[in-house]
């Protein structure tokens, strides 16, 4: 047998070793002389400290010092650098050394992570002035660290920033926002934030703000002339007040909340944000428990996409959604995933209100009960220009950043499937729109609309 791999051209071998963890790629230099220097041309570094869960005995400092040595001897640009390591206070200095080297190597995409369950009081410090030493950095992800807000020079290249489990003195976020002048997207998760979180500034370029599980936040004020997308997720009973001071471009809102009171929330959003195009609401519990939305009130004059993910329900009445649909006269797309234990069978008369712009309706978690079939029928009778009704047995849940996933519901058996399939085929004949396609399948066909 001949040595089949070493005959490949350099760029292919480099392309192969770029795709293995960098520690393995480094080890490849010892295979033979042919491999000696290939590693020095790898454009992406990827390090893991081999601890899936946090381990205070990790030799993280030695690893970072070693990585710094490699960076100093590297022959090519490094565009992407990903490190997942048990970073402690003692790593602060070697980490800074690595950052200086990466800045010289043209880094664009940097992420610094810690393994799962990382909890230590002696977290690594990341000094914001390091950002100005990476003049080509575009995307930065930082997890579990203490942020030192000592940025004096502006950082013009950074476009997206994700912070997770980050702590810092008051004002650390403001420091970043006022110095990273081209920042388009900011995501903060489980970070230390003040009770009143403000995003404002005349030069704020932010197009997308995502806030997840930041404990203690009570009020969020937005004065951001370029903001287009806002996502907020908080698994807490606490009420959070949103103040939309000046957000003329804000079109997409994604809210994942625990509290009830959907009608008042919708009225607020409708009043404050007349330009809204996409609205996603994820609720734990019945959003209409305290009362429904009045029929005939227009709330969202420009909304064309509505996504609803309602979970942890005992009972639900699908027809309680109709006034909301009616409140969105231009709605084109509806994505609905509800799976309560029972449906409320209220024997009331259902008025058909036309939804003339509705084109796509997706219903996930369809169990084939009489109530659900009636609801599907209602849509087919009222959406005169409907093109597609996509129904699935499995429900889906909204994750974040616009992504949905299929739920792990009990599988559907053959008989049940054909039973529901038959009843849906029957429905088709009652559809008002002549061109509508009605589909029933096991799994939700999730079209990623990630932002």
């Amino acid at each position: 047998m001949e040595d089949i791999i070493s005959q490949l051209p350099d760029d292919i071998l480099i392309s192969i070793i770029t795709r293995i963890p960098t520690k393995d790629a480094l080890r490849s230099s010892i295979l033979s002389k042919r491999w000696r220097n290939l590693f020095r041309f790898v454009p992406a570094f990827n390090f893991f400290c081999d601890h899936r869960y946090s381990d205070p005995t990790c030799h993280s400092k030695a690893i970072l010092e070693g990585v710094h040595g490699l960076l100093e001897r590297h022959h090519a640009f490094i565009r992407s650098f990903h490190l997942c390591c048990c970073l402690t206070e003692s790593c602060t200095h070697p980490l800074e050394q690595c950052i200086y080297s990466l800045g010289k190597l043209g880094i664009e995409n940097l992420s610094l992570w810690t393994p799962k369950n990382w909890s230590t009081t002696r977290v690594v410090s990341f000094s914001c002035h390091l950002l100005s030493h990476m003049p080509s950095l575009k995307h930065f992800t930082l997890k579990s660290c203490f942020l030192q807000p000592n940025l004096k020079n502006p950082c013009n290249s950074l476009k997206t920033l994700k912070l997770s489990k980050v702590k810092g003195p008051p004002g650390y976020l403001e420091c970043i926002l006022s110095n990273c002048l081209n920042l388009c997207s900011l995501a903060i998760k489980d970070c230390q934030v003040p009770s009143k979180l403000c995003f404002h500034g005349p030069n704020l370029q932010l197009k997308c703000i995502v806030i997840h599980e930041c404990e203690g936040v009570k009020e969020i004020e937005l004065y951001a002339s370029n903001l287009m997308t806002f996502e907020f997720k908080f698994d807490s009973d606490e009420m959070v007040n949103f103040i939309f001071d000046y957000v003329p471009q804000l079109q997409n809102i994604y809210l994942c909340l625990l509290e009830n009171g959907m009608p008042s929330l919708c009225r607020r959003l409708g009043q404050d944000l007349p330009h809204l195009k996409t609205l996603l609401v994820q609720y734990m519990g019945d959003p209409f428990e305290d009362g429904g939305i009045d029929m005939g009130i227009t709330m969202f004059n420009n909304l064309n996409r509505l996504e609803l993910n309602i979970s942890y329900l005992s009972t639900f009445n699908l027809f309680s959604l109709i006034p909301l649909l009616h409140g969105c006269p231009l709605l084109q797309e509806l994505h609905l995933s509800v799976r309560p234990r029972y449906y409320n069978l209220l024997d009331e008369e259902k008025h058909v209100v036309l939804h003339p712009h509705l084109k796509n309706v997706e219903i996930n978690g369809f169990g084939g009960t009489k109530h659900e079939i009636e609801f599907a029928l209602y849509i087919l009778k009222s959406a005169v220009r409907l093109q597609l009704m996509d129904i699935s047995w499995h429900s889906s849940y909204y994750d974040r950043f616009g992504r949905w996933y299929t739920q792990d519901d009990p599988p559907i058996h053959g008989n049940k499937f054909s039973e529901i399939y038959q009843s849906i085929q029957q429905l088709k004949h009652e559809a008002v729109s002549p061109t509508v396609q009605v589909i029933f399948q096991k799994f939700a066909r999730i079209v990623p609309k990630q932002f």
Binding site: I5, S6, D11, S15, L26, R27, I30, L31, S32, I63
Partner: protein, 167 residues
């Protein structure tokens, strides 16, 4: 994902081209599939000839590449189906088959297949001891013991072999 120029004069017509391998066999391929290869696209743009001779790609490899191109040119298939096809396509293939495949995709400039195959080759090498890789691919160690020790010494922190596989 590979994108094709939908408005280009070549893709607009539903034509076919003939591709001949170095073994002399000829394959009929739709033009929409052929142009997914950047090199074939260039050849087709430059000359009228409908017969392309590839002097360094054998029958077996060419047939695989064409199967890949045809699948990816099929507008009727969803991206999910294409992705699972890609997975199937590289799974279970011998290393030397992959080697010829990666060389062919490099020649033909089919970037996304080249990545898929390189990824598969990388998966084979991942988390393996140096000795395992040498044995498996019959790589001759031409270092002197001193030179090898010197390299190991330079990045000593990276030579913690406890977690690596040797089978």
């Amino acid at each position: 994902m590979v994108t094709t120029d939908e408005k280009g004069p070549l893709t607009a017509k539903k034509k076919s081209v003939i591709i001949r391998s170095c073994d002399g066999d000829e394959f009929l391929v739709s033009e929409s599939a052929a142009v997914l290869s950047t090199s074939l696209k260039k050849i087709l743009e430059e000359k009228e000839d409908r017969l392309i001779h590839l002097s360094d790609i054998d029958n077996k490899t060419l047939a695989m590449v064409i199967a890949y191109l045809s699948t990816h040119a099929d507008d009727g298939l969803s991206d999910d189906l294409k992705r699972s096809f890609d997975q199937e396509f590289v799974s279970g293939k011998e290393f030397d088959v992959l080697k010829y495949l990666v060389l062919a995709t490099d020649t033909l400039q089919v970037t996304c297949l080249c990545y898929t195959v390189a990824k598969k080759m990388a998966d084979i090498m991942k988390n393996k001891l140096v000795e395992w890789v040498r044995r498996e691919f019959d790589i001759q160690n031409d270092y002197t013991p001193e030179a090898e020790a010197e390299i190991r010494r330079l990045d000593a922190w990276a030579w913690d072999d406890r977690q690596l596989e040797d089978d």
